[in-house]
Amino acid sequence: MLDKTLVTRIFGPKGWLGLALFAAITLVLVPILNLVVPEDSAFHLSTYWVTLIGKIMCYAIVALAMDLVWGYTGILSLGHGIFFALGGYAMGMYLMRAIGREGNYQSDLPDFMVFLNWKELPWYWVGTDSFLYCMALVVLVPGILALIFGYFAFRSRIKGVYFSIITQALTFAAMLLFFRNETGFGGNNGFTDFKRILGFPIAAPETRVALFAITALFLIGFLLLGRFIVTSKLGRVLNAIRDAESRVMFSGYNPLPYKLFIWVLSAVICGIAGALFVPQVGIINPSEMSPANSIEIAIWTAVGGRATLVGPLIGAGLIAGVKSWFTVAFPEYWLYFLGLIFILVTLYLPRGVVGLINKERA
């Protein structure tokens, strides 16, 4: 189904150049335009754009993670939002603790716990004042959940739509769980009103630009990692599983470890994206786990073009950008446009936006 040429072409010499250009823009140009260029200059890039593009890059990382499991391995998850949110919550826990006694109630505990009359931190909050521990949680919590869930699901050979539906059930159940105030994650309001990260004030332009650049670095890193995986032998087995899992089994491979590996990796990448997302937008709450959000992740990937690595990034950027623009320009009608885009892309661009570009070139 997939022509290898597409992948190799995207990572041909020109592709590397594009990547370098992207790195230069995000790591050098944006910081300069935002921090150095004075505000009244026409070339000044406002903080609004920095946070907006930073947010979209987080989405792009998630779309990339989705592409690894869906595009390359054929496992459609409709519950990737849960991994994203868990990573975000892990980061959020650190940020909440970093507020210290500056909250409304001047307590060592986060405000919402004071409010619930809790006298001490619940066990799962212990140690979250350490940045490193929380970063470990960002990786481990989504990773371990994915490992357990994936192990049982893949062992029972749940696949196709069944898998999609139970991942949806998983994220829906988690959303309801996190909505509860007693669960200990701030209920519906989630975490917000962060003050600082690693001692730096979170609203300072320098902090924002630093977070932006770190996000860009992660994006580039994951893109390279993805490229390494899909062009390796492992990537070929994954492709084979996607195209004909039974035949892979008949040829003597056990698909379980392959699927499990890519599934857990994808979840971890999502978790990291969530952790990058939270300090930039300043809020994490259970609605990130809503099934609709997870469907949207699949849509970014599909619009951009599955199994292309770069496509999902463009898809995420396009849809999130279009949404940002439409909700202002046509607040009453934007859903028509968005809906129409989904339909047209599915009907006429089965390989997504990247497929379109590629077809022209071919």
Partner: protein, 423 residues
């Protein structure tokens, strides 16, 4: 070749973004921009859309009278789509890109909490028009809805009074999120102070969008059968009220047996319900459409005309006004008065001018902005549902009540002053 692909794709995004960017700059500078940050899609659209129209109506009205500081107001409407991170993004956009002087917006507490850091960081103004749980006080926000002591506590006092049925046992029923939880926490402390014991109070919560209230109603029935007069205090959120009330009516739980007093049920929520079986159940608000006062008659008429003129679906056939609409309306007029008084739309100057600002509210009282705590002094009304979906005011406070955002019934608030902290 590949680079061109890349450029092409990014150019598309950039072009779209630029189009939006330049469009917002094309406007002439003689206007004062006013942000409208209400969800027009997603789960909250059901409640918030009408507030957007209320703001637009009030802006038309102010412009017709010459605007503010001699300039016309220009609304900038955005749709945060019931998505909380999007609220923060749109707020930043309104303030730093569109340069709005003030924003009217938000409904849920989480959306307000999401945008709050943005307003504080960029020192801009937000008017928040919905009743909420308190426990917050920002210098950049004016809260024109009710704090718990301006709605919940008077309502429960009424239930405990002889005319309210001398209730002795209470079911605190709500949707599982912060506003009901906080309100119920305050109410529990209040009830304790009135000598109601814990065994005479139950709290029940349902998920968002819950639509099957059979078990809950069975539970209420059982609880009420265990002795003493029982009343239900409902903080069920917007949409779930219809199935709740339908079930209530069908299960034959009459207001004379177990009255239900609701804090989130107004004229708009009852639009979708057959109210005949619900006659006598209660709601507590600071405004009802049925209030008889010249100011309200005028307000209702204005809204009806506006809805017809603008062809607003639903309202053009059956115009309804409600409490958050009144709060929005008061808010924007007070802001305009304050800006005129301050001779500027500068945030700090307007904040200073807002203190003590008064406005003849549709509710029939003179609403006063507190000198310090950014909340309105509001009267409290208790209304009984009538067969036509309107409310019959059965009780009201003697005069406006001063808001107490840091409720005294919450132990942690000891020593907190109702004044925004200097940041």
């Amino acid at each position: 070749m590949q680079r061109r692909n890349f450029i092409k794709a990014s150019a598309m995004t950039a072009a779209m973004a630029l189009a939006g960017f330049s469009a917002s700059f094309a406007q002439a500078q003689e206007t004062i921009k006013v942000g409208v940050l209400h969800s027009l899609s997603g789960t909250m659209a059901i409640s918030e859309t009408v507030l957007k129209d209320t703001v637009l109506m009030a802006i038309d009205e102010i412009n017709a009278k010459g605007g503010v500081l001699g300039k016309k107001l220009e609304p900038v409407v955005v749709d945060p789509a019931s998505n909380w991170p999007l609220f923060a993004e749109k707020a930043r956009q309104l303030i730093s890109k569109d340069k709005v002087a003030v924003t009217f917006g938000c409904w849920t507490s989480v959306s307000r909490k999401s945008v709050l850091p943005v307003y504080e960081e960029l020192n801009s103004l937000l008017f928040y028009p919905v009743q909420y749980e308190g426990e917050e006080l920002s210098k950049n926000v004016f809260y024109t809805g009710a704090a718990p002591n301006q709605q919940a506590i008077p309502a429960v006092e009424y239930l405990m009074s002889k005319d309210g049925g001398s209730a002795k046992r209470f079911v605190l029923l709500g949707t599982d999120y912060v506003y009901p939880r906080t309100t119920n926490k305050i109410l529990r402390a209040f009830l304790h102070s009135k000598g109601v014991k814990d065994e005479d109070i139950i709290e029940e919560y349902t998920p968002f969008g819950h639509s099957d209230y059979q078990s809950i109603i069975a539970k209420i029935k059982k609880f009420s059968s265990e002795g003493k007069k029982t009343a239900v205090v409902s903080t069920i959120n917007g949409d779930s009220n219809v199935p709740f009330y339908k079930e209530l009516g069908n299960q034959g739980l009459k207001a004379t047996d177990v009255p239900v007093v609701a804090f989130s049920v107004g004229e708009e929520e009852l639009r979708g319900v057959d109210t005949k079986p619900l006659v006598g159940h209660l709601a507590a608000w600071n405004y009802f459409m049925s209030i008889k006062s010249p100011a309200n008659t005028e307000f209702v008429k204005k809204w009806s005309d506006y809805a017809k003129a603008k062809n607003i679906p639903g309202h053009k056939d059956k115009p309804l006004t409600n409490d958050p609409m009144e709060a929005t309306y008061i808010g924007i007029h007070m802001w305009a008065q304050a800006a005129n008084k301050a001779k500027s739309v500068d945030t700090d100057k307007v904040i200073a001018a807002m203190a003590g600002q008064t406005f003849k509210a549709p509710g029939g009282f003179i609403s006063t902005m507190d000198k310090e705590n950014h909340h309105l002094h509001k009267p409290v009304f208790i209304g009984e549902i009538k067969a036509d979906g309107q409310f019959n005011v059965v009780w009201k406070t003697k005069g406006p009540v001063v808001a107490d955002p840091w409720s005294d019934y919450i132990a942690e608030n000891k020593g907190k002053k109702n004044v925004p902290e200097k940041k």
